[in-house]
């Protein structure tokens, strides 16, 4: 779960990282009031959970109350990359002498936490890695021992950071590491970390993504993970315990595995357009598949359904019963193609066929997609 910038800033502040004076506004009047307290000029930043917000017009500077009125009005209620802007962060505009970067992430390949620092902040760090690797230093942390300040000092010396900055920057890195530990973060980042004209540091943006698998044991209070999902269908998916990703086509997809679901999307995407990606994970029951059918059918304009399941850990014959019940109760007339292989496959085929589902018994998903294309094309 990714936290909003203002939530992450609150957490960083509590751990002692210097952050700007700020507040969160849901209306133009609240924004005006906050800006009055903070003092102009102020930054207005849309609180949406997508990357690249600045390029999409989600970050603005207001120098006067009049400017702020217009900008806040435009921002609130607008959409940034498809996400509605409900709140804006109003914060002091820092004077920038230099922009730095510091981030802690998990390096999947070495299987350790890694700290990355850069003397070039405010841009995508991957770009810096490609264009100016000398401005970037990183360090893997031994999971048995954790982080020690000498590691930060070493990285900063490698980047030729002036001695006067090393102590303050080392403190920030240590506190950020603490945040990453406390929240079991997959990403914990300040970009940019601003150097002020007086030499002080200020974290003017914050990213914190909590490991979903660890949420139940994190001691600090966290926002409700399901409540904040914007897309109502994706929210419903989380409620019933499946992964649902909303897409913009008209073919519904149910799969019993993530890889299989992605492959199905790719093959369907050649000639048709997926409307959604629904992956059940392990633990299929008749009830769950009934709910999955209900969920994919909530999307308007579905023209066909593709079911791709394997009976390994999943009792697919149970799942088939749920699909059939949904079809019968709703008198569903769409073309539905199912490929179901593995344990108890013959029983599963019989159940599907009883409700008019077209069963494909060959392994290659392409063959089943071809059948669906033939049927949907006829409609």
């Amino acid at each position: 779960m990714r936290l909003h910038e203002h939530e992450a800033l609150d957490i960083f502040e509590e751990l002692g990282i210097p952050v700007p004076r700020r507040g969160v506004a849901g209306t133009m009047h609240e924004a005006l009031h906050l800006a009055g307290e903070i003092g102009y000029p102020v930054m207005l930043k849309a609180q949406v959970l997508v990357g690249g917000r600045g390029f999409a017009g989600g970050i603005k500077t207001a120098s006067t109350p009049e400017e702020l009125k217009n900008m806040a009005d435009v921002l609130l209620g607008s959409e940034i990359k498809g996400m509605p802007v409900r709140k804006i962060l109003v914060c002091e505009k820092a004077e920038v002498a230099q922009e730095l970067y510091v981030g802690i992430t998990v390096d999947g390949y070495s299987g350790t936490p890694v700290i990355v620092v850069s003397t070039e902040g405010g841009v995508r760090i991957e770009e810096t890695a490609g264009t100016a690797p000398e401005k970037l230093a990183s360090m893997h942390i031994d999971p048995s021992f954790g982080y020690y300040p000498y590691q930060a000092r070493r990285m900063l010396r490698m980047l030729n950071i002036p001695q006067s900055l090393i102590s303050a920057w080392t403190d920030v890195i240590g506190q950020l590491y603490k945040a990453a530990e406390n929240y079991e973060a997959l990403i914990c980042e300040i970009n940019p970390l601003v150097v002020l004209p007086n030499g002080g540091l200020l974290a003017v943006d914050a990213v914190l993504e909590v490991d979903d698998s660890a949420i139940s044991r994190i001691r600090q209070p966290l926002p409700d993970r399901i409540e904040r999902i914007e897309n109502p269908l994706e929210k419903r998916g989380k409620e019933i315990g499946v992964t649902y990703v909303d897409l913009d086509g008209d073919i519904g997809i149910i799969s019993s595995g993530a890889g299989l679901g992605m492959a199905s999307m790719d093959i369907i995407g050649e000639k048709m357009k997926p409307a959604n990606f629904l992956e059940t994970g392990g633990g299929i029951t008749a009830e769950l598949l009934y709910r999955c059918m209900d969920l994919i059918m909530r999307k308007p304009g579905i023209r066909g359904i593709f079911i791709n399941v394997y009976g390994g850990i999943n009792p697919i014959h149970e799942g088939a019963k749920g699909v059939v019940r949904y079809i019968q109760e709703h008198n569903l007339q769409l073309p539905i193609v199912a490929k179901a292989l593995g344990n108890r496959q013959e029983e599963t085929w019989e159940i599907f066929r009883s409700a008019g589902v077209h069963v494909v018994t060959e392994t290659a998903t392409e063959k089943a997609v071809a059948k669906l294309y033939e049927l949907v094309g006829k409609n």
Binding site: Y109, T112, T243, V245, A258, A263, E279
Partner: protein, 290 residues
């Protein structure tokens, strides 16, 4: 020949008394796997599917001579059970459960590496050696004995590729799920190395997906060390950026982990990129794999 599982492999099932543990023990025994015991703390002395259950891994090892373990333990208890298993001297561990916190996986990986333990997962279907045995949840009917190795980040896609090959009588030497989490216990290159050394494997298929950099990093190993033909498929060409596609590790961030980046690295290393699973059949015919 095969890798990881052979006639000397004696398997225990951890979490054997749970619903999934019991059902999967049944299927593994059915496939001929030498399962010698199960472990569930507090349930020692009982029998599941004809197999004795022990309270601790140490006791199971002492009584049965077990040297491998497959996990059906709830995610919250996996780290504890994993450390216990390594301390009891087991050298091959398969972690089937999903949703294990990344911080736990990091600790597990470090502990296993320091002690020379080979562990797979989390979120893996396991290992299957056609005709010999399996540690995990793969549906056995889709597999056939032969000489093609398969390594997959996705359980269901490993079944898909094995099934496509089996239908044209191209069997598999060993099929391995490496797991779909952001951090897994063993990297792709490590497993490729086992296949390269295996006399029973003539060629290898890598089944990857968006997210992470396992495939990109393995490309270096392929170009330097692999003498056998390698084919690769990457799922997720149509996955929207920034969305987790079911697997915890399957997410494209910025420019990293994309299908294009993986294709480019694999092609440059000399692997043949398969645009779609069904192309595995043509590839196998071209290389005369049987």
């Amino acid at each position: 020949m095969s890798i990881l599982i052979d006639d000397s492999t004696r398997v225990i099932v951890q979490g054997i008394t749970g619903r999934i543990g019991t059902a999967q023990t049944h299927w593994m025994l059915d496939y001929g796997t030498k399962i010698v015991g199960g472990v569930t703390p507090g349930k020692g002395g009982s029998i599941v599917e004809g197999v004795p259950v022990f309270d601790s891994v140490e006791e199971a090892v002492r009584q049965t001579g077990a040297n491998a373990s497959v996990f059906f333990v709830p995610a919250a208890f996996v780290l504890d059970a994993f450390l216990e298993t390594i301390d009891a001297g087991i050298k091959l561990i398969v972690i089937v459960p999903e949703h294990i916190p990344v911080q736990d996986v990091i600790r597990m990986r470090s502990y296993a590496a320091d002690r020379g333990v080979f562990a797979l997962g989390p979120t893996t279907p396991g290992i299957l050696v056609p005709g010999k045995g399996k540690m995990g949840i793969m549906p056995a009917s889709l597999f056939a004995p032969g000489r093609v190795g398969i390594i997959s980040r996705s359980g269901t896609l490993s079944y898909e590729f094995a099934g496509i090959l089996s239908e044209i009588n191209v069997g598999q030497s060993t099929v391995i799920g490496m797991g779909a989490d952001p951090v897994v216990l063993r990297n792709l290159a490590d497993i490729l190395e086992l296949f390269e050394q295996d006399e029973g494997t003539d060629a290898v298929i890598i089944v990857g997906e968006v997210g992470g950099e396992q495939e990109e990093k393995a490309a270096g190993f392929i170009s330097r060390k692999m003498s056998k033909p390698v084919a690769a498929y990457i799922a997720g060409r149509h996955s929207p950026q920034g969305k987790r596609m079911g697997h915890a590790g399957a997410i494209v961030r910025g420019t990293s982990g994309t299908v294009d980046a993986k294709h480019e690295a694999l092609r440059a290393a000399g692997a043949e990129v398969l645009d779609s699973p069904i192309h595995a059949a043509q590839w196998a015919k071209k290389h005369k794999l049987q």
